[in-house]
């Protein structure tokens, strides 16, 4: 299908001169984007690039079936354009973001509110008005931004009739640090460290995406040894977080055996990443052009041995979880996102795969080491909390098998290559399947090869709406397990 698209095609982890990206007047561009979305494309990124006196909109779409990405843009304009959200809900947050950042108004947008802008006092996000359900039986519950647990800040506004949630609106922005603004005219000296902390639990994925963008802009790629190391670290990150999530899900329904075990095993996996690079979250490992720490034979053997123990422990802890009828009953038919909804709002990652959507960047848009070695995509139908937990436990198994296979046949050679300066006036895209889903980095350079625009889309940006939909018609007391089953990032969304 993508063969006939008017958009410019490019593969994941490649670049394209800005001049080769087709541009339309904005109304036509929106129409063309809608046409592509109707033909099965989905949103990876949608952002504005200031140009002359106006702003051009850029769309990065993914054709998963064709394993290709498509880029198109509008001509520079100011003012309003016909909103895409009315027909394609997956554009919802993206259009709000563009409105907030560039003042381009999506005409007809049903819920035009700030995403992460601070209020007039400058002490909290300007959340705007919340959606309200009227009625004498309806009551409103406000949760956060300060929560009872040690988690990130976010505000949840429930409209309930008794125990049943009619509507949930999520207001974020409390963690906005201005990462994209800080990248203008970059890369700067601090850029790499900032990339590693876009979402601290997704360090490897974001660092790999950034490094890949830099390599694509330089017209090269990292040495195979580095690609292999990144793939190993990425799966370790997935294992640690998925194991932690399984334990947290068990904890939320007061199932202590799995909770206690998984809390400990998560630490074991994090320590394996520390064995690779000295940091439990993998900071300092991935650098543009390669990796900074090699895995020598001795540590590789140690890694393999400790990995086996941790995987065996996880298998046992997860088996307790699934063997308990009380746990299964608690998760089934709770917080269901239907496949049609998941497609419409553009879910990514395990949340999408738990709705039966085959959507995995490692498989659909392989780059780096994933071109040579792949783990089977883990999919489960139904879309409830059970399915999201099931996909996680399947991915734990498959990532384990993948690592076992990779550690027996490591790539040899250089760790880090020379990196040419970024090409001028070029757009590069990198997608990485982080443990939460698709991490998308898009860089556009200016005539001097500095960043003119750098766009980061964390998987959470796509998926928060999925949590809001999952809560409709669900008991409010089930919010914690629904929330945990998505386990989205606040800072990844807030940037």
């Amino acid at each position: 299908m993508s063969a006939t698209t008017p958009f410019a095609l490019l593969a994941n982890a490649t670049s394209l001169p800005w001049a080769e990206i087709p541009a339309w007047p904005v109304a036509e561009f929106v129409h063309a984007t809608a046409t592509e979305l109707n033909r099965g494309a989905r949103f990876c990124a949608w952002f504005g690039v200031p140009e002359h006196s106006g702003t051009c909109l850029v769309a990065v779409l993914a054709f998963d079936v064709d394993n290709t990405l498509a880029v198109g843009r509008s001509e520079a304009f100011t003012g309003a354009y016909p909103a895409l959200t009315t027909t394609h809900p997956q554009a919802h947050l993206f259009e709000r973001e563009v409105w907030e950042q560039h003042g381009l108004t999506p005409a007809g947008h049903p819920w035009l509110k700030p995403v992460r802008r601070t209020n007039e006092k400058g002490n909290a996000p300007a959340n705007g008005e919340f959606f309200r359900v009227e009625g004498g039986e309806v009551h409103e519950v406000a949760v956060g931004p300060v929560h009872a647990g040690v988690i990130e800040p976010g505000h949840f506004r429930f409209q309930c009739a008794g125990e049943e949630v009619l509507h949930l609106e999520i207001a974020l922005g409390y963690q906005h640090r201005g990462i994209e603004e800080a990248l203008r005219d970059g890369p700067h000296r601090a850029t790499m460290s900032q990339m590693e902390t876009v979402a601290g639990d997704t360090t490897i994925a974001h660092a790999t995406a950034y490094a890949t963008v830099m390599e694509a802009l330089a017209g090269t790629e990292a040495p195979l040894r580095a690609q292999w190391l990144r793939a190993v670290a990425l799966e370790l990150e997935r294992l640690a977080n998925h194991t932690g999530d399984m334990g947290a899900l068990a904890g939320d329904v007061a199932f202590l055996p799995t909770m206690s075990a998984c809390g400990k095993i998560r630490g074991d996996f994090l320590n394996l990443t520390a064995l690779m690079c000295g940091n439990r979250f993998g900071r300092g490992l991935v650098r543009p052009g390669g990796c900074r720490h090699d895995l020598d034979a001795g540590r590789a053997a140690q890694l393999k041995e400790r990995l086996e123990t941790a995987l065996a422990d996880t298998k046992q802890a997860v088996a307790w979880f699934w063997d308990s009828a009380a746990v299964r009953a608690r998760f089934e038919n709770v917080g269901t996102v239907f496949p049609a909804q998941a497609t419409a709002i553009g879910l990514v990652g395990p949340a999408a795969r738990a709705c039966g959507l085959v959507r995995d960047v490692r498989f659909d848009h392989p780059a780096g080491w994933h071109r040579f070695a792949q783990a089977p995509v883990a999919v489960w139908p139904v879309g409830d909390v059970f399915a999201r937990a099931k996909v996680r436990s399947l991915e734990i198994e498959r990532s384990g098998d993948y690592l076992r296979e990779q550690l027996t046949a490591p790539a040899e050679g250089e760790l880090r290559g020379e990196l040419a300066p970024p090409a001028p006036d070029t757009l590069a895209v990198a997608l990485v399947e982080g443990w939460r889903g698709e991490v998308c980095h898009v860089a556009l350079t200016d005539a001097a090869g500095r960043f003119r625009r750098y766009k980061i889309v964390d998987p959470s940006f796509h998926n928060w709406m999925g949590l809001a939909l999952a809560l409709r018609g669900t008991a409010i007391s089930d919010f914690p397990i629904c929330n945990k089953s998505f386990n989205l990032s606040y800072c990844g969304h807030d940037l």
């Binding site: 949760v143 007061a254 202590l256 409010i476």
Partner: protein
């Protein structure tokens, strides 16, 4: 004079021993999970700490916010003093004292819910709504259990109705009363005393805004309630009156310890139920007690 001394002695015993039970439960849970866990005396430390602290009071709440926990605490202690203690019997015993006990428990619940509603918080309103809805079923189960004991012994006084064993219906009563104990004391699978998730709580969410001595009274009252239900359960099924005083005292202590460890094990191995399933389980507990009543009524007939 002797009555007064007996009363004071019992009061001290209840006040001092009750906080031990949550400590034992937590130790069992930690042991099953392979952790060291908090000290058995942790609740005593917490109570001492809370007693020294000040009270944060919302300027929207009426004095009911403080009165509620105080009345609930006194009501629970009053209920505890009505309970006969194995060989020692009860200090005050009269016809129908069992009804007073049930009403004192209901009064404590009412006061806790009242204090929760005083804050005007959405969470506490939801918690109070849940607490009183489930109480409808647990109270029915308690009344059925008490009726079965009344029919079995032909007495409406606690000290005589708890003396003999529950007879053929004992197994049914154990199952029914243990389930009620878990529900009334906010244990897994009905509630999770350890959770920090305010949206899923029942009892814990009602006391979120309390602090200092009122919170201490609430926590201490909850431990008294747990001890009260454990003692009721043990005495309902064991033939206390038929044992020698020493054996009865031993049986009571071991029985309460077994119930406590049982609660810990349930909490270690079972997940919480969804709220929509809770009425099902409570109805089951009610039916078990009703069947115990039927057995007591028809089963013992010559």
């Amino acid at each position: 004079m002797i009555v007064m001394r007996d009363l004071m002695l019992r009061l001290v015993l209840w006040l001092l021993l009750a906080p031990l039970l949550p400590g034992i439960i937590n130790k069992v849970k930690a042991w099953v999970a392979g952790r060291r866990g908090p000290p058995v005396l942790q609740l005593y430390y917490d109570l001492a700490k809370l007693w020294r602290k000040g009270v944060v009071m919302s300027n929207l709440a009426s004095p009911g916010f403080i009165i509620g926990p105080a009345v609930a605490w006194v009501a629970l202690i009053g209920a505890a003093l009505l309970m006969p203690l194995g060989p020692a019997g009860s200090v005050v015993s009269f016809r129908g004292d069992v009804l007073l006990l049930i009403y004192l428990l209901a009064l404590a619940r009412f006061c806790t819910a009242w204090a929760a509603m005083e804050t005007g918080s959405a969470f506490e309103g939801m918690g109070a709504a849940r607490e009183v809805s489930y109480a409808v079923l647990t109270e029915a189960a308690i009344i059925a259990a008490v009726l079965s004991l009344i029919v079995h012994t032909g007495s409406v006084s606690l000290s005589t109705m708890l003396a003999p064993s529950a007879g053929a219906g004992a197994a049914l009563l154990v199952a029914g009363l243990f389930t009620v104990l878990l529900a009334e004391n906010c244990r897994v699978p009905f509630d999770d005393p350890n959770t920090h998730l305010e949206l899923t709580m029942i009892h814990e969410v009602m006391v979120l805004d309390h602090s200092g001595p009122p919170l201490a009274a609430i926590l201490h009252g909850a431990s008294i309630k747990l001890l009260l239900f454990s003692i009721l359960l043990v005495q309902a099924v064991l033939p206390m009156g038929d044992l020698s005083p020493l054996a009865a005292a031993g049986a009571l202590a071991v029985g309460v310890l077994l119930v406590t460890v049982g609660v810990g094990l349930v909490e270690s191995l079972l997940a919480r139920f969804a709220f929509r399933r809770v009425p099902l389980l409570l109805t089951t507990a009610f039916l078990l007690c009703v069947f115990a009543l039927l057995v007591a009524w028809k089963g013992d007939a010559p």
